[in-house]
């Protein structure tokens, strides 16, 4: 027992593991390469339809896979209109509810509200789809409208939770100086809170938009699945994602390749929302 410390140190020194770090690092590189790999795979497989016979059909307004006409226009339009409608409903309602929870309601209601949003945000989207199928489709028919409302219900909790987090991070001093200046509560909200958090609100909307663009089955249950340019809010529509889940099983040849391109289009559209979100979220609150 003369030199226990030295023995201890000597023993621990051998505890360094070069191989361990290399293994973990390699797993990390694999983790980061997987999704880019997925995208490259989509592009390579999908590029099969980027030849002279199929390329012009991509810009047509008709989707007839049987005749090898792969017009993406109605599908992209369907995705954009349903998601935009969802966002148009979810953003004002979500923002309003968060303003209520942060500035008007007693703490107990705020906690209840937070739990409600937490549970709602974790619900599988098909549950919203089921709700829309049973309660809204019989009234309005499968349509752009019902798809938009279902998407709104689905993304509202995510948007509201991110917004609430943004409000929480407003520096205390900002609100205190507002109060010291004698601003009324409405002014504190409109001129301070909403201005200071604007980048993060846009980021929250970006995240929500991404979720809406990528949703497949909840939309498929209620949108009607007609690949045409919608001529009104109660018209049936079809989106990029619903096309994938409906046709993947029997798709072969050029049709199969076209579906890879459809998936890539979904990713590209979602990338717009995601980029917006990451850009805005990294913007520092200037106060």
């Amino acid at each position: 027992m003369a030199t226990p410390t030295i023995e201890y140190v000597a023993e621990e020194r051998t505890g360094e593991s070069r191989i361990g770090w290399i293994a973990l690092g390699a797993l990390g590189v694999l983790a980061i390469a997987m999704i880019p790999g997925v995208l490259i795979y989509l592009l390579v497989t999908g590029s099969g339809v980027l030849d002279r016979t199929h390329l012009p059909t991509l810009f047509s307004t008709e989707w007839y896979p049987g005749e090898e006409i792969f017009g993406l226009v109605p599908l992209v339009l369907g995705t954009l209109t349903t998601s935009a409608l969802g966002l148009l409903i979810a953003v004002p309602v979500g923002l309003g509810s968060v303003i209520f929870f942060r500035f008007y309601s007693p703490a107990s209601i705020t906690r209840l509200g937070e739990s409600t949003l937490g549970v709602l945000s974790g619900l599988p989207s098909v549950i919203f789809g089921l709700f829309g199928t049973v309660w809204m489709v019989p009234i309005f028919g499968p349509s752009l409208l019902v798809a938009g409302v279902v998407l709104a219900m689905m993304i509202l909790p995510t948007f509201a939770m991110l917004t609430l987090a943004a409000f929480r991070q407003i520096p205390k001093g900002t609100m205190e100086s507002g109060a010291a200046l004698g601003l009324r509560r409405e002014q504190m909200i409109g001129r301070l809170a909403l201005v200071v958090t604007r980048p993060r609100l846009i980021a929250a909307a970006g995240v929500s938009l991404t979720r809406a663009l990528g949703e497949a089955l909840a939309v498929e249950m209620v949108c009607g699945n007609v690949a045409a340019i919608p001529d009104g809010i109660t018209a049936p529509v079809r989106t990029l994602t619903t096309t994938l889940v409906q046709e993947f099983e029997y798709a072969t040849g050029a049709h199969r390749e076209a579906l890879h391109l459809v998936a890539l289009a979904v990713v590209l559209l979602a990338a717009i929302g995601a980029t917006l979100a990451v850009r805005m979220a990294s913007k520092q609150v200037s106060s």
């Binding site: 209840l112 709602l120 974790g122």
Partner: protein
């Protein structure tokens, strides 16, 4: 502003109340003693959820098992191996954050095309597990990175100053003290896998038979809701009962996350 925001808040509560009441009332009507264990009968119009629950558990366990080492590696790459605040480290973080929002249906299509067709796995739980791994690795990695970075620098320095190696410092100091955040990452992944439909419908399929191996197809709870509501006439009742199970899981996940958040803040 007060009136408008109050109405919005009421709408939020009303949404959960309506959906919750709808699921609980309709779902409970279809409950029986054997719901959790009985086989699916008559295409889902009768019987229980036994095989569906089994498939869900297998996909959950498999995908998290595959994803854990990958996510750990991703987080270690960012927090231990790359220089802090370097451009590369920030790039890695940004990449994982962006990957979280890649639509799962696109990854599902690749899973179908690559695992089910090219690798010949067909509609199988294994194909579903692999596909879900692709989806949850970024989510878990981002959570793990957050956890490792919250570990006080002093803890690491003390340990290293005592002559403990980096490897052992990582496993005996950093990992244990980041435990709540790591558990939160896994819980998030559980929530994500449970809620996933499109990617799993494309890979592990909609079969309601009891899976006997990873090579068999099997519908998870969420996929079953979709299949019952959309493709089985008279399947709505079972769709609701399945939704009730999902609702309960969601509440459990939410409670667990809230606890872990409190724990990691303490």
């Amino acid at each position: 502003m007060k009136a408008a925001s109050t109405i919005s808040a009421i709408l939020v509560f009303l949404t959960l109340l309506l959906i919750g009441a709808d699921i609980v009332v309709e779902g409970a009507a279809g409950l029986s003693i054997g719901t959790l264990t009985d086989a699916v009968r008559d295409g889902g119009r009768a019987g229980g959820l036994g095989p569906i629950i089994l498939s869900t558990v297998i996909v959950l366990a498999g995908s998290i098992l595959f994803a854990l080492p990958l996510a750990l590696g991703g987080a270690v790459l960012k927090t231990e191996l790359l220089r802090h605040h370097s451009r590369l480290a920030r790039g890695v973080m940004g990449a994982f954050e962006v990957m979280v929002s890649v639509p799962s249906v696109a990854i599902g299509l690749v899973g179908w095309s690559l695992f089910s067709q090219w690798l010949g796995l067909g509609f199988s739980l294994l194909s579903g597990c692999l596909t879900m791994t692709l989806i949850i690795v970024p989510i878990m990695t981002v959570a793990f990175i957050g956890g490792f970075e919250m570990v006080p620098a002093g803890l690491r320095m003390n340990s290293l100053a005592l002559g403990v190696t980096r490897w052992q410092t990582f496993w005996r100091q950093v990992v244990p003290s980041a435990r709540p955040a790591l558990a939160a990452g896994v819980t998030l992944a559980i929530g994500r896998v449970t809620a996933e439909t499109a990617a799993l419908m494309l890979t592990s399929g909609i079969s309601t038979r009891t899976p006997e191996s990873l090579g068999d197809p099997g519908a998870t709870l969420a996929v079953h809701v979709y299949h019952m509501a959309r493709h089985v006439p008279g399947g709505e009742s079972m769709a609701y009962t399945t939704s009730l199970a999902l609702l309960l899981i969601c509440i459990a996940v939410h409670v667990a996350l809230a606890r872990l958040k409190k724990e990691s803040a303490a």
